[in-house]
Amino acid sequence: MTAIPQDTPVRRLERRHVAAAIVAIALVSVPILKTQSEWFAYPMHIMVLIMIWSLAYTSWSLMGRFGLVSLGHGAFMGIGAYVTALLWNYAGLTPWLGIPIALATVALVAFIVGYPCFRFRIVGHYFALVTLALSEIVRQVIMATRDYTGGSLGFTPTPHGDGFSLYALQFSDRAVFYYIAFVAWVFGLWVWRRVDRSMDRYALDAISEDEDASAAAGVRVTREKLKITILSAVLTGLAGILYMQYQQFISPDTVSGIAISLQIVFAVVAGGIYVMLGPTVGAVITILLAESLRVAIGTTMVGLDTTIYGLLLVLFIIFLPKGVLGGILEWWRNRAAAGRERADRA
């Protein structure tokens, strides 16, 4: 008996591959539709946001699914976005160089926070609290250096060129960014899948249950946790950068701080933390919710969406802990299993 368990699901996916191809074609054709009718401009904008936030949420779930609950991912988004934008405005450094520098900074911060936590076994609630502090520290640094960052008023990258600058990664045509966001989103899913199919996944699942027993089986616990944390942080930083390049405006409220960190956790829990497309479903839910509230109520009740997030989070954790997509998939599997049982009996 040497069957490798991953082999079996792959075969069964044929029909899903077809479905994925259809969805991909539909998604790719949205900007083409937009050239035909301006009606598609707004849905396309929403979809860019969904794809960028999906990348952030998927990145968070890379570690969140292993019980490494970080409340500091807003900080990684903020560092990515601000470092890239500040280098562009003050040093004239093209994002092509600024982005690698920003991502390296994110990796360094993730290491500085992660290493002591993992080395000294700060896990569970304590890890969440340490990372929560990181969120607030980054926000405070942005506020304290308001002479450069604009503080709570936000920050706008200096415009370059006439609406299409490859050098500054600034494109007034949203279709360009749509494709960039699409590729980034697919890239995030690809990374998720690679992790899911690696041996590291088993090690991390084992670590999440019992660090001593994992170490006794030869797993380098600190190293495994650092690897996934840095990967998760860097991809989240990338999402922050894309958000900044797309919106051409950032503020502590939109890309860093505790509110963003909590929003990330909420969206993933809502969508489904253990399934690949769970975070994406979470992004669809949260962004559609925020947009509907904005359209329906306007901006008179600032913070209403956050209030509703909080309430929904409690309800989800109690009634649908696997999230919307996780719940649906489970129901589907149970139904299929029951069907098979009936067939067996007949």
């Binding site: 368990p5 084992a206 019992d210 027993a213 994992s214 006794a216 089986a217 030869g218 797993v219």
Partner: protein, 255 residues
């Protein structure tokens, strides 16, 4: 005795003012099965945990294949070739039986191995201990004996030269204990693995081990062939108590 694979000298562990292990010295020969017995709280598991890297010794040295390994991290000890089981089984419930062992087969060998090799190593280790491992069989289906086997398979998959088997066989009936004893002997015979076997029930162990050490209150009080140890008055007093006659009879029968 053959060449020593493990040499422990004046090994001591203190927790605050309490001395759990007090200057214990012993050696283990290549290919030997050494029994380590003693009542609950006598320091057996503490010695194991120090050798396996889970606890740092307060004093003393541990040399494995000539290298001083005291204070090394557990994963490093594992990579060097010391496998261990836990007294109370510690399975990973999120993983299937095969995946539990494959983790050890992949990360525990002390060298880079391919995925395919890790799965094969895991399947072999499970076959060795006689545990079925069909697709995605859950660890939650295993009883006490099955979980012990899983522990053993996980340790074997790390390809150890020395196995620390913490087998306080609580929760097993007599035939299961006999099976466990036979399995350890088979592991030594077929895989050439040296074994230290921790136990607090003496009878089963005596049948299989080459040599026995008896611990009491963190000190080594007796050491030698099973037959001699079972007749040592000190052992009879602190450890064997009333069932001394039974154990002596079983040793006599085996010898």
């Amino acid at each position: 005795m053959a060449d020593a694979i493990l040499t422990v000298e004046a090994l001591t562990k203190r927790f605050g003012g309490f001395t759990a292990v007090d200057e214990v010295s012993f050696t283990v020969g290549q290919g030997e099965i050494l029994g380590l017995i003693g009542p609950n709280g006598s320091g057996k598991s503490t010695i194991f945990n120090m050798i396996a890297g889970l606890l740092r010794p307060t004093a003393g040295t541990i040399r494995f294949q000539g290298q001083s390994v005291g204070g090394f991290s557990p994963n490093r000890i594992c990579a060097l070739g010391i496998g261990r089981t836990f007294q109370i089984p510690r399975p990973f419930h999120k993983l299937s039986i095969l995946e539990n062992v494959a983790v050890a087969g992949y990360f525990g060998q002390g060298r880079r191995v391919g995925k395919a090799e890790a799965w094969e190593t895991a399947a072999r280790a499970l076959d060795m201990v006689g545990l079925a491992h069909g697709d995605h069989a859950s660890v939650d289906t295993l009883g006490a004996a099955g979980l012990k086997k899983l522990e053993l398979a996980r340790a074997l998959a790390t390809n150890p030269t020395l196995l620390l088997a913490d087998e306080s066989l609580g929760g097993l009936d007599e035939s299961e204990m006999d099976q466990a004893a036979d399995m350890l002997e088979r592991i030594r015979r077929e895989m050439g693995i040296t074994i230290i076997w921790v136990e607090h029930i003496m009878g089963v162990l005596m049948r299989v081990v080459d040599r026995v050490m008896v611990l009491d209150h963190g000190e080594l009080i007796s050491e030698g062939l099973p037959a001699d140890v079972a007749h040592d008055p000190k052992v009879i007093e602190v450890y064997l108590g009333t069932d001394a006659g039974e154990v002596q009879a079983s040793v006599g029968a085996a010898g």
